[in-house]
């Protein structure tokens, strides 16, 4: 019982990160129909930028802001320089384009930060707290709180602001949105900015837990993508559910079987769920968009 609680807490922590990454996928997909496989690199950049800033003595609050701004800039550049130029390319080519970008960013990062893992000190005093026999570090609590905050802010933004409404409109019906004077280019650009910001937040939150390195983006991106698919691509609540589930499968797999088996178990369950629910748990109405 104590084990179960422990694994659940670990699962929710890592699942929160997957949920934020998955939200990044959904944000870009819902507006541009692009699957951005460089999403994980935003997380990596977030973690490593945070490391660089903190290690030269920049206060945490300033590092947060600077990290988010920097990664956001990269996201904007990616849309402006690459995605926009490739309009009209088919879905497979666009995926390849984002894969190319991710390999490129990873290569540059390994030159800048080297191949070692880096250590970032936790946000606050990190003595584990014991809850019902299971221990949880304050940093994990921070991660979960940040995820909740991000989900809350996203909801407020999408539902309560004019820009959010425009965003929603261009994802539901791009043509009608355009006729209403919403610029699809601006929305596409904005989706990448927002998604990069999400990646940066995930990266800086997880940095003290997983020792960021240049190659951490690939697996985080894959897990985030699975989470988005599991929840039903295009659905924001689905992304959060998917992320938490992937996190839980992983921690249960690592805890009850072995840490080497965790990915095998996670992706096997993932495939099983897809066989039962081919459109994801919450389901996407327009499956197979993009002519794949």
């Amino acid at each position: 019982m104590q084990d179960l609680l422990q694994f659940t807490l670990t699962g929710i922590t890592i699942g929160s990160i997957y949920a934020i990454v998955a939200l990044g996928f959904v944000t870009i997909y819902s507006v541009t129909k692009v699957i951005n496989l460089a999403q994980g690199e935003f997380v990596m950049l977030g973690g490593l930028t945070m490391f660089s800033l903190v290690s030269v003595g920049v206060p945490y609050w300033l590092s947060f802001i600077a990290t988010i701004l920097f990664v956001t800039l990269i996201g904007w550049l990616m849309e402006f320089l690459l995605i926009r130029r490739a309009k009209g390319a088919d879905a497979i080519s666009l995926i390849i384009l984002t894969i190319g970008t991710s390999i490129f960013i990873r290569g540059i990062s390994s030159m800048v930060w080297g191949k070692d893992q880096h250590t970032v000190a936790p946000f606050t005093e990190n003595t584990p707290v014991t809850i019902g026999g299971a221990s949880i570090t304050p940093q994990s609590i921070w991660v979960v709180l940040i995820m909740l905050l991000v989900v809350g802010l996203m909801y407020m933004f999408i539902d309560k602001t004019m820009l959010g409404k425009a965003f929603q409109a261009s994802s539901v019906n791009p043509m009608a949105a355009r006729l209403m004077g919403i610029s699809p280019k601006r929305m596409s650009s904005f989706s990448f900015v927002l998604s990069a910001a999400l990646g940066a937040i995930a990266g800086l939150a997880i940095a003290p837990i997983i020792f960021p390195a240049y190659d951490m983006g690939a697996m985080l991106g894959i897990k985030g993508f699975s989470a988005a698919i599991l929840g039903g691509l295009g659905s924001a609540p689905g992304a959060v559910i998917g992320g938490l589930l992937i996190g839980l499968f992983e921690s249960m797999g690592a805890g009850y079987v072995s840490s080497g088996m965790k990915d095998i178990i996670t992706f096997s369950i993932f495939l099983l769920i897809l066989i039962i629910r081919p459109n994801g748990i919450l389901g996407e109405k327009t499956i197979g968009k993009g002519g794949l």
Binding site: I35, I92, G100, G107, L233, L271, G288, L292
Partner: protein, 345 residues
Amino acid sequence: MKLQGVQQTKWWGVVVFIVAILIFPMIVTQSFFITQATFAGIYAIIAIGLGLLMGYAGQISLGQAAFYGVGAYTTSILTATWGWSPWLSLPIALLVPALLAFFMGYTMSRLSGYYLAMATLALGIIVHGLLVEGKGITMGASGFYGIPQLTLFGMTINQGVPYYFLVWFFVLLVLILSLNIVHSRVGRALRSIHDSEIASSSMGVNTGRYKMQVFILSAVFAGLAGWLFAHMSYSISPSAFTFDASILFLAMVVLGGSGSVWGALIGALLIRMIGITVHTLGEQFTFITSDSEHVIYGLILILVVIFMPRGLFPTVVDWLKNTTIKRVEKKASVAVTPIKRSVSE
């Protein structure tokens, strides 16, 4: 009269290809380049299969390395652990990936688009994980060793020129088979699926069956490449069959041009050449490291998608055709409507 849209296999291309294979080891004698050319052949087999899947059936596989790895490990276990002859294990090394693809395709038949792409990615991760974790059978992450060499008529096919010829002989077989498929009824059906699945389905094309067949075929090719890879070296390790490898195969197809058998072959050669160039430069200049290789791969993928969305080979061929058509027009000085159609060889 020649039917519009029906294309014959242009055999002179195959002849040029055979001559190039024969001449290469005469010009280039360094064993390093022969080995690299052998690897390029192994990759070309996978790329051709993946190219058929992507360009003709319009499906993306992010886990092609799984079939490659399954083929390699099947033959390694059969020959090294069970003492089979490598030639006897060849059909099994093709059959097991085929069965895996069939099982995968069958259970995943309700999936499409990105869901299917993610499913193949998941398969790749699961297979790689099993190769690492199944220590009792696969010897785990440190690698499987003791794989016997191939023999033919009592002679060992050594690594180097003999193995080079063996690999490229198989590339030739795969190439001819693929060109024939592309120019057959099946090829036309596949192309119609790529253009519009709904339209071809309503014209009576059994889209599901064709997609399944080409998926299995791509797995068989990958299995063949795995068999060749395993017997080339004394040992193999799971690190050759990762997600990165799957991405590399994808890069070959995109670079050369999906929807083109020749394109996939050329893409495989080019990607290998880029790797060798960076490697050679890295030996002379210390600032060029293996990281640069990744940066260059990434950059090439980006540039190809943006400037040549159809890939190198079809773009170049179209350009050549257009210039010849213009020249012919000038000569005849008769208005001829240039026939623009996608190159599909």
